[in-house]
Amino acid sequence: MSRFVAFARSLPLSGRIGLALVLFWLVTAIAGPLVAPYTVGAFVDYEVFSGASRRFWLGSDYLGRDVLSRLLWGARYTIFLALGAALIASATGTTLALLAAIKGGWVDELLSRAMDTLISIPSKIFALVLVAAFGSSLGLLMLIPAITYTPGNFRIARALAMNLVALDFVQVAQARGEGAVHIALREVLPNMIHPWLADLGLRFVFIVLLLSGLSFLGLGVQPPYADLGSLVRENISGLPEGALAILMPAVAIATLTVGANLVIDALKPVEDRT
């Protein structure tokens, strides 16, 4: 805990704000539904798109449901789906990258060619083709962004691992007769963990945006479930009145992704902060 406080103190102001936002949303995703004042699908207000009141802190939506409760549940879907997808993408990409870097030769050639091909398909286009082919159940919505963002992670992890494999301590380990698994997990991986974490964070942001975009188009999370993007979509008719029901979910996504980006930016060494 004290290490965490020291870490937070080492960040510039923008980084601390970002960290606070990310922590807030993580806690919301975990605990939010427990404190939600109403059942998520219940029609509780006779008025639609009502403003903030004591009974409904963020007003009601287009069917008279409580926006706060729906937001707390929606955040859980958005964040858990994106986190799961980012972890799958990074784990797959990095495993393949370590394989390519350590085996070299035709394994590297083949994997790099395949990943270069996939990375040449713009991520939203790729996701649309995958959704058209497989549909969009919750499980698939975790897999589709994971597939879409694996090549990007592979490319970065491979570059990091390639640099490390050429270093003396890995050469020594190889001369010692260590197996490929030992070299990958004990020698290479621990030395690329920081840039790897930054990449994981970036991928999380991309995936949140991709998922929200898909849901906004009606191709992502399907009713009765709703993530933050679907909340924006279903309340779009409240736009002319500037209803909280449409503004709050959109603001929620923005604070989450901007927060994560601020933390990642603050972690970069000062020289290459761009």
Binding site: S14, R113, D116, T117, L118, S120, I121, P122, S123, K124, I125, L128, V129, L130, V131, A132, A133, F134, V205, L209, S212, G213, F216, L217, G218, L219, G229, V232, L239, P240, G242, I246, L247, A250, V251, I253, A254, T257, V258, A260, N261, L262, D265, R273, T274
Partner: protein, 327 residues
Amino acid sequence: MAATAAPRSALVGIMPLVLRRIGSALLTLFLVSAVIFTISGLLPGDAAQETLGQSATPEQVAALRHEMGLDRPALTRYAEWLEGIVQGDPGQSLVANMPVRDIIAERLPNSLMLAGITALLAAPLALSIGIVSAINRGGTLDRTLNIATLSMVAVPEFLVATIGVLIFSVKLLWLPSIALVSDEATWGELLRSIALPVLTLAVVVMAQMARMTRAAVADQLDRPYVEMARLKGLTFRRIVLSHVLPNAIGPIINAMALSLSYLMGGAIIVETIFNFPGLASLMVNAVTSRDMPLLQACAMIFCAAYLMLMLFADVVAILANPRLRAQ
């Protein structure tokens, strides 16, 4: 070196390299077509089943499958499909029942116009922001612009669009919230109706472009020749205008081409929100109606456009940096 002798010989000198890059891009596009065809052909139910619905007898489905050619081997179908794409005839739309080529021919110019106007608007602004923050590196202005562009990159396109609609169409009543593009519209009407889509896209692309421009210029400022010029006693203004910018033009154009690829992702959301009759909203409709021939053709066009941008960025980088030619 031949490269320094005359511009003409420099161009000739890099021709093999450029040709190799073009070849590599074409190979990638070929592999991409295989990926897209495979994924969109993996459907559990196929187009024949889809067209006839649940009540169709197996015989009817088999007959239609035969008629549509779906009962032939996948490789044959892929070869025919690829041949069609190359010849500019990607088949028949399953939903609209007209040639995919005609549907796309109607939509493509609209999307190109949207992208063109957005690029014209975003590029100069992004360039100024990028250069100004690079030469004020570490200063308050740079840090403010950094946070601003960083946030814009992370905000979903539909938030920018909804805020735009709220301000300009709902509160101020200046601009329409639906983009109608018709042949009879005058230029003024056209510009008014596409103003919001263009603004939204420009904001999204501009942030990315400004960040990459800043990185390109900042990278030049760290070079030894800048220190040399400073030691010679040149003013900072002079260093930037006559030493740094000429050297940074290549990297800047490279950065701009790369960030223009963000237009595609943005266009999917923006065209849909504003009901803009372009290629991206066409593709979203194709996903909803599972119109595979149309979807495949749209995806191929986007991938080809993306690869062309990357190729352009690559060639500019080679032209700008003689050392890359040695590879």
